[in-house]
């Protein structure tokens, strides 16, 4: 019996070693690809026809969809920021998803809206719409009041009401940079292959000082350590994870915080999935499935210059909720579209990307947490020398540090949004620190999500937002 256990532990150790090696090789490849892709993109931006598109009547109209639910603290700021976008023709559609607080009242009063009659066609089935509001002062703002049905339902409602060929989903706690919309549309206008979705970079708004709710006045790092970890995480995730997958035309995740979609393609694919807690990822997977079934060329792009700033959780409770939801959504998305798995018909998505996500992202936390126990156990039963154990731990942590540093480095050689020397050092430092505890606790939350999925606890965990800082540095 003991021999069998030892053989199992030994085998598992080899498995962990191989798993770790393959995963980090993939990360290294993504990093190299991202480095080249971003540097080329930065060069291209210098002669990109953004100005021409801005002035052109040919630039298609876009609807900005902002679903809100009990967001009284942030809703008006987000709407003002969206309305301030520099784009030839766009409308902002705020969908009040059955808020119990004064969200609707606040928007109506702030923008002097009146109830209007409007034809509403249910291309996508949604909860009942209670009313539409519009005002003379902001003719491109439409507010929809509806019965609560969740974020996906609210977005579907916004799609139904939208009269533009493209829509852009933006979270209520986010702030679009003034040229973000035209930049995110550039691949659509400049691509020979239809672009059905395009994502931009999401950055952390906490700590940033905003002028008139619209313009980023000063970028500062927040004092909250948890937020600092998340800044490093976002840099890594957006600047090398997604750019790398984009280079392979294999993106499976675009952030719902800021993504642009071709409306008709989304309607044809069935809209946002109401049962999924991570509707953005599920939609992207389904768009791949839909388009690959059709056998028509398409692209789902991620580009690194359109920027949206968003508030991130400031305490462990909210962060845990967010991370559990993200991971649960990932699992749901993969399972709901599992027919794509290992099917050559779905190309690189079915044969490479989905297996990668299942093996390294979905069950990754399970293997990581099990690994900690098994390695400790291996040492306890005497099949692992202390020297080997320490070296392996050092290697694992160092690789994490390397990836975080690479994320900060990519930011440094490209957009450099954190201007001060202190910012650079703090970010580099937190890139090191996040491997001592933060990463492990994240894995634990993701493991909880796996358990929740297996036990059928798949409800939406709401994350509260505090409201951003104004020029005086006060939360409002």
């Amino acid at each position: 019996m003991r021999e069998a256990v030892i053989t199992f532990i030994l085998g598992f150790n080899y498995f962990i070693g191989a798993y770790f090696g393959v995963m980090n090789t993939i990360y290294a490849c993504l990093l190299v690809m991202s480095l080249f892709a971003i540097l080329r993109h930065i060069q291209r931006i210098k002669y990109a026809p953004i100005g021409d598109f801005h002035a052109s009547l040919q630039t298609p109209p876009v609807s900005i969809l902002i679903p809100v639910h009990n967001e009284v603290n942030v809703v008006c700021k987000s709407v003002r920021a969206a309305l301030a976008c520099d784009y030839p023709l766009f409308e902002v559609i705020v969908i009040n998803d059955g808020s119990q607080d004064d969200t609707l009242k606040t928007v109506i009063e702030k923008f002097r809206l009146k109830k209007i009659d409007r034809v509403y066609r249910e291309f996508l089935e949604t909860e009942t719409v209670k009313g539409f509001y519009a005002g003379e002062e902001t003719p491109n703002l439409l507010v929809i009041d509806k019965v609560q049905g969740g974020k996906s339902d609210a977005l579907n409602c916004g799609i139904n009401a939208s009269r533009s060929p493209y829509f852009c989903s933006v979270d209520a706690d986010s702030l679009l940079e003034i040229d973000a919309l035209i930049r995110i549309m550039a691949p659509v206008l400049d691509s020979h292959v239809p672009v059905v979705a395009c994502g931009g970079v999401v950055r952390v708004l906490n700590g940033v000082i905003v002028r008139d709710d619209v313009t980023i006045q000063e970028i500062e790092l927040p004092k909250n350590r948890l937020v600092l970890f998340q800044i490093v995480e976002y840099l890594r995730g957006f600047l090398f994870g997604r750019v790398g997958w984009d280079a392979l035309n294999s993106l499976l995740i675009l952030s719902g915080t800021f993504s642009m979609f071709h409306k008709q393609t989304v309607i044809d694919s069935g809209g946002f999935s109401v049962g999924n807690v991570s509707e953005d990822m599920e939609l992207i997977v389904r768009l791949h499935r839909h388009k690959r079934r059709q056998g028509k060329p398409y692209r789902i792009r991620f580009i690194s210059d359109p920027i949206c700033w968003t508030e991130v959780p400031i305490n462990f409770k909210m962060l845990a909720r967010q991370r559990r939801r993200w991971h649960l959504g990932l699992i749901q998305s993969i399972f709901e579209n599992s027919e794509m798995l290992l099917r050559p018909r779905y190309g690189i998505i079915g044969m490479v990307v989905m297996p990668y996500y299942i093996f390294f992202e979905v069950i990754g936390p399970l293997i990581e947490v099990t690994g900690y126990f098994v390695v400790a156990l291996s040492y306890a039963v005497g099949i692992l020398s202390i020297k080997f154990l320490i070296l392996f731990l050092i290697l694992a942590i160092l690789y994490g540090v390397f990836l975080s540093t690479a994320g900060v480095f990519l930011e440094e050689i490209t957009y450099r949004r954190y201007p001060r020397w202190r910012h650079l050092f703090v970010l580099l430092l937190y890139g090191v620190f996040e491997n001592f505890g933060y990463r492990q606790i994240n894995s634990f939350w993701r493991l909880q999500a796996i358990v929740n999925f297996l036990t059928g606890r798949t409800h939406w965990e709401h994350v509260q937002h505090k409201g951003r800082r104004d020029e005086k540095g006060e939360h409002r």
């Binding site: 040919q58 009146k114 400049d190 080997f388 390397f402 690479a406």
Partner: protein
Amino acid sequence: MHDNVMIIFITIAIVTITLLTAALLLASIVRRGWRGRMHRQLDDLRKTYRDGVRTAIASGDIANNEKKFRFKPGSRAWQAVEEVLQELMAAKRQTGEVKALFHRLGYVDYYENRLGHRNVLARASAIDKLGKMGCLLSTSRLVPLLDTNNPEILSVTVRALSRLRSKEGLVAIIVRLPNLLGKSLVTRKAMETALLNFGGEAIPYLTDYREDQSDPWILSCILEILSLLPPDPRSLSLAIKYLGSAHPEVRSKALKVIGSDGYAIPSQAADLTLPLLNDPVWFVRLQAVKSVRELTRESTAKVLEKLLFDENWRVRSEAALALTRIGSFAVDVFYNALKTKDVYAKESICEEIEKTLFSDWLIMHLSDDDKTLRAKCYEILRLMHVLGFSIPLTAYMQTGEDERVKQAVRHLLASGADR
């Protein structure tokens, strides 16, 4: 033995990763320092030369002053002067003098030489700069680039030529349209955006181009551009010619030209346009409705009535919108349409009536002396109220002044509640 090999392997991996991490750390720090210094120097230089260049241009003696601004290509001072000149170009200030300076200071030559660079990004950047410098003499260097097969180079070249706005560049682009659009080397949106930069000067070349080309996609692209350029009889005559095209995209774009602002639709065009309201393709019908908006005739109202029940909602809404502009002719049409059972069509009609404020016109006629018109207006408003489009009525009750109208509206709101 096996464990030792593993330990050596892991140690090598640790050392490698440590070195790589240290390299990235160092690179981040060094780069920040270097870039910071560079930007500070550039800021200072720009500040210095901004005034100098402006003074030199204002003095009108560029020849004697140019030595002050001539620097080694690639140097920071050279870059600063270039940026100052580009600022003046962008602000459209003394562009003639600025263009001359670009030439005399060697910027044009420098970037023309870079057109042969092996790196695509460097070449594309040089093309873009030449376009921004506005030096017409560069046209002849840029035109041959339209014969390459690299989509990136082609897109940038088309844009650069459109900024130069030379006749030679325009002709070169138009002649190559079959290659550029046919092979999808330049996207249609990019081409249309670029050609619009040529403005009205492009019209004769675009209208003459049609004679020897039959590609419907190119034709529709040309017609689309013409629809956005200032009105011109040549554009109108080309559009009329292609109203009968076999390709729906061409028919639709021809209609768009005819419906553009500024054209008085001749009777010949009107006669050709009206049958297209029955076109089998929805986007042609849609464009036809948009184009006949200005034809405020009773006969048009009758044709549009049918389109209120079109299978496509965009066509239905557009037909309702067009009818609201026809005024009194439309009352009968709306009256009849709102009596039918098609709820989708009726809602579209109500929305357009409300959106275009035709509802206000209807409300005002509730006190009209013409009894028949008054009754029809009342009935239309009542049917709208039944369908949930009541806001104009309630608004009038709050702000309206005519007591007779108010009384009618009050009665209407009360009767509508019995739906």
